[in-house]
C-alpha cells in the first residue's frame, strides 16, 4: 500500500483517525459565521452538510448511523434554521446512505455524485420548508434552488477534498 515501504505495526494515531472527519464537518458548519460575510440570500453552499455526506459516501462504515444527531445539532446552532432541523434531516440522510450502500453494492463516481446531490437538495429544501411553514412553498423552494444547484455541482470537489482528508487521516507515521 505504502509506496515508500510500509513500516509494520505503526498505523495512524487513533485520535487523528477519529477527529479529522468530525472536525472537518464541525468547522464546515461554523465557518460561514466566522467570515465577515453578510449575505442577502442563501448563497453559500452548506459546507458542513457537504463534508458530512461526502465522508459517509466515502467511508460508509466509519461512523455509526446516529452520528447525524450530534453533528446536526452543531450545524443547527450556526445555520440559523430552527434547532432540530439538521438533527433530524442529517440522520435521515445518513440512514438513506446506509440503505443505498446495501442496494448498490459497488458505487461509482457518478453514483456518489447523484446520491450526494439528491440528498443535499432534499435536506436543504426540507429545512427551508420547516423554517418557514407559513410562507408560500414555491417561493421558499425558489429561494434555496440556486444554493442547491451550486452545492450539487460542488459535490465532486468535496468528494476529492474528503479523499485528501482521508489520506491525511490514515497516513502512517
Amino acid at each position: 500500500m505504502n509506496q515508500k515501504g510500509p513500516r509494520l505495526g505503526e498505523p495512524a494515531s487513533l485520535w487523528r483517525m477519529r477527529i479529522v472527519p468530525i472536525a472537518t464537518v464541525m468547522v464546515g458548519s461554523a465557518l460561514p459565521l466566522m467570515l465577515p460575510l453578510i449575505a442577502n440570500s442563501p448563497v453559500v453552499p452548506p459546507l458542513g452538510l457537504l463534508f458530512f455526506l461526502c465522508w459517509q459516501l466515502l467511508r460508509t462504515e466509519m461512523w455509526p448511523v446516529w452520528i447525524g444527531l450530534p453533528l446536526g445539532l452543531w450545524d443547527d446552532l450556526f445555520s440559523g434554521s430552527p434547532i432540530g432541523t439538521a438533527v433530524g434531516l442529517w440522520t435521515i440522510a445518513s440512514i438513506a446512505i446506509h440503505y443505498i450502500s446495501q442496494r448498490i453494492y459497488w458505487r461509482g463516481f457518478f453514483h456518489d455524485w447523484a446520491i450526494g446531490a439528491l440528498l443535499l437538495g432534499l435536506v436543504q429544501a426540507t429545512a427551508a420548508l420547516i423554517t418557514h411553514p407559513e410562507a408560500h412553498t414555491g417561493r421558499v423552494l425558489g429561494l434555496v434552488a440556486p444554493q442547491i444547484i451550486i452545492s450539487a455541482l460542488l459535490v465532486p470537489l468535496f468528494l476529492r477534498l474528503t479523499g485528501k482528508f482521508d489520506n491525511f487521516r490514515l497516513k502512517r507515521r
Partner: protein
Amino acid sequence: MARPAHRRPGQSRKAQYSLFAAYVVAMTGAVAGLLLAVLSVADPVGFAQLRVASQEITAPIARGTRSVIGSISGIDDTVGAYVSAGSQNRRLRRELADTRRQLVATSSLQEENRQLKALLKLQETTKEAVANGYLLTSTSTSSKRIALLSIGRNVGVVAGQPVRGADGLIGRVLSSGPSVSQVLLLTDIDNIVPVRRARDGLPALAYGRGNGDLDIRTLNIANNPFKPGDILVTSGTGGLYPPNIPVAIVARRQDDGALARPLADPGKVDAVSVLRPYTPDNIEAQPLPAAAAPPASVGTRAP
C-alpha cells in the same frame, strides 16, 4: 469507487444488537429532532439562548477576520450586478435624474419645514439609541436571514429592539448574548414591518422575501397605488419600530403590491444603532422634550 459496506454483523449477537441499537437511536433521534424543529419554529425564543451562546464562541474569530479582510458585502449582489450591468446602468441614470428633481423640491420643503417649526417652537425629539455597533457576520447557508451584531447585553441590548443603519432600517434584535446579539434582518421571510409611503402616508406592510428584496402590500388591494421610486418609511403602527425610519424604495409594481429594495444594505452598512423599542409607554414618557431627562445609560446618540 467506494468500497462496499460490510454491514452484516455475522453470528455475533453483540454485534447484531449494537447495530440494531444504532438504528433505533438514529430513528428516535431523527424523529425527536424534527419535533424539536417544529417546536422551535413555534417558539423561537426558547432555543435562542443556546444558539447565541454558541455564536459567542465564533464571534472572536469573526471579529478577527472582519478586521483583517473588512466586510465582504453580499457576494450575490456583486454577481448580480455583473449580469445585469447594462439594464442597471440605464435604470440608475433614470433614477438619478428623478432623484435630482426630487432633491430640489425636497430642499425647498425642508427649508419651509424648518421655518414652520421655528414658528411653532417645536423641537425634533431626538431618539436616543441604546448603543452603536457593527454587523459581524450573518447566516449564509440557510434560508433564515440572521446577522450577528458586535454588541450584546454588556451595553444593554435586549431582544426586540429595532436596529437601524445610517441609510435606514436593518431589522430587530432577535436575542442577545453577553457580548454579541442576533439581528433578524429586514429581508427575512418572517419579518413584517408596518410602513407608509413617505409622500402621502399611504399605509402598507413590508414582507421580507428572503433574497434581499421586500414585498410591499397595501391593505387596499383593489387598486395598486405604487410607482417605482416611491420611498417607504416605518409608520410606527403596532409599536416596536419607531416612525419615520427609511425602509425601502419601490423597484417595480407587482400584481398584489410592489417589489421594493431596502434602502440600507446590511452588507454595506458600516455601523448600526440599536434603538429603544417604540411603545405607547415610550411615547407617554416624553411629553415635553425639556422635561425628559437624558437616560443615564451607556447609550450613545443616534446618527
